[in-house]
């Protein structure tokens, strides 16, 4: 019996020692850029299920969600196995009154705002402690030069994390992925439409190349 326990312990130790650690890839960006839509698309394309709910109300995602063991294969046959972490939109201010404009009752708006603040704090903590690579999600119809984007890219660079910038919503008439390329020339920018699925394959190719 003692021999059995010892063998089991050694076996667990060896498994722990040699088990391949999966990279955790965080999807970051400002609110309403399409982070959860992308996380859902990746999960559906490679696992067959979804991560979380989406809506036009900012801060719909108020907790970081991790989808584990996603194996993505590139056109050259190389593949990566990663965990995708969908994070709440990063901002420096949250006022519950903004939710009232969407017809949400005051009490629920206050609860949403509190959860959103916790979610942003959580997302920052994940970035400092646990994230191994980042897909930084931007809305191609919006100004990329806002301080939150500059600050977040600075934080990601200071941690030496590999980053791909996804310029989302290229299906919309005002989209300008070129403006995003101009704002962050030091990083690969992939123009995509998460809703239409446009150019998603190129994003997967870049993920296989950049993330380990």
């Amino acid at each position: 019996m003692v021999l059995g326990q010892t063998t089991s312990r050694i076996s667990k130790f060896l498994q722990k020692l040699f088990r391949k650690r999966r990279s955790k890839i965080g999807i970051y960006g400002p609110p309403n850029a399409g982070k959860t839509t992308l996380a859902n698309r990746i999960a559906r394309d490679w696992l067959g299920d979804a991560v979380g709910a989406v809506s036009e109300i900012p801060h719909e995602t108020r907790r970081a969600f991790r989808k584990q063991d996603i194996c993505i294969t590139g056109s050259n046959g190389h593949s990566i196995t990663i965990d995708i972490v969908d994070t709440p939109g990063v901002t420096t201010k949250i006022d519950y009154k903004e939710f009232l404009e969407y017809g949400i009752e005051r009490e629920e708006a206050i609860t949403r705002a509190r959860e959103a603040t916790e979610g942003v704090a959580e997302a920052m903590h994940w970035l400092r402690e646990d994230i191994d690579g980042v897909i930084y999600m931007l809305d191609s119809t919006a100004d990329p030069f806002i301080q939150v984007n500059i600050m977040m890219i600075g934080i990601i660079e200071s941690r030496h994390l590999p980053v791909i910038i996804a310029a989302n919503k290229i299906d919309l008439p005002d989209a300008s992925p070129q403006r995003i390329k101009g704002a962050f020339p030091q990083h690969p920018v992939v123009p995509i439409s998460c809703i239409e699925g446009q150019n998603i394959e190129e994003l997967y190719e870049k993920m296989v190349q950049h993330f380990r």
Binding site: T92, Y96, I155, S158
Partner: protein, 120 residues
């Protein structure tokens, strides 16, 4: 009595003597009281990350609702060789931080930040 908004201009030397947490606390305490803080030299990326996290933890309904922050990016030539070898990014330059309900950034160029301040 004269009414208005207090603006504190904090020198690089004043911040240099403080730890990261003391810097963030100093900024956040002032901004929560309604003061606009202008730093001669900005915060490191790690400090910015913690500032956002702590700001979120202090937001209250009908009270403090967060910060506006704007800064000029660091000049590439300010990155010293040793810092580069260690992979450190230099801190940002002049930085404006204020309570989100009193200050709104209206324009930012590479050499101009324009803000609108409300006393109401």
């Amino acid at each position: 009595m004269m009414q208005g908004i207090q603006i504190d201009l904090i020198s690089e030397e004043r911040l240099a003597d403080l730890t990261s947490m003391e810097r963030i606390r100093l900024i956040l305490d002032r901004v929560r009281e309604g003061t606009i803080v202008i730093l001669e030299r900005g915060l490191a990326p790690e400090e910015q990350s913690r500032l956002v996290e702590m700001t979120m933890q202090e937001i209250l309904p009908d009270g403090f609702n967060g910060i506006e922050i704007e800064s000029y990016p660091a000049k590439a030539e300010e990155t010293h060789l040793i810092a580069r070898l260690l992979g450190r990014k230099p801190p940002t330059r002049l930085t404006v931080i204020g309570p989100a309900n009193h200050i709104r950034m209206i324009r930012k160029d590479k050499d101009l930040i324009s803000a609108w301040i409300s006393t109401g």
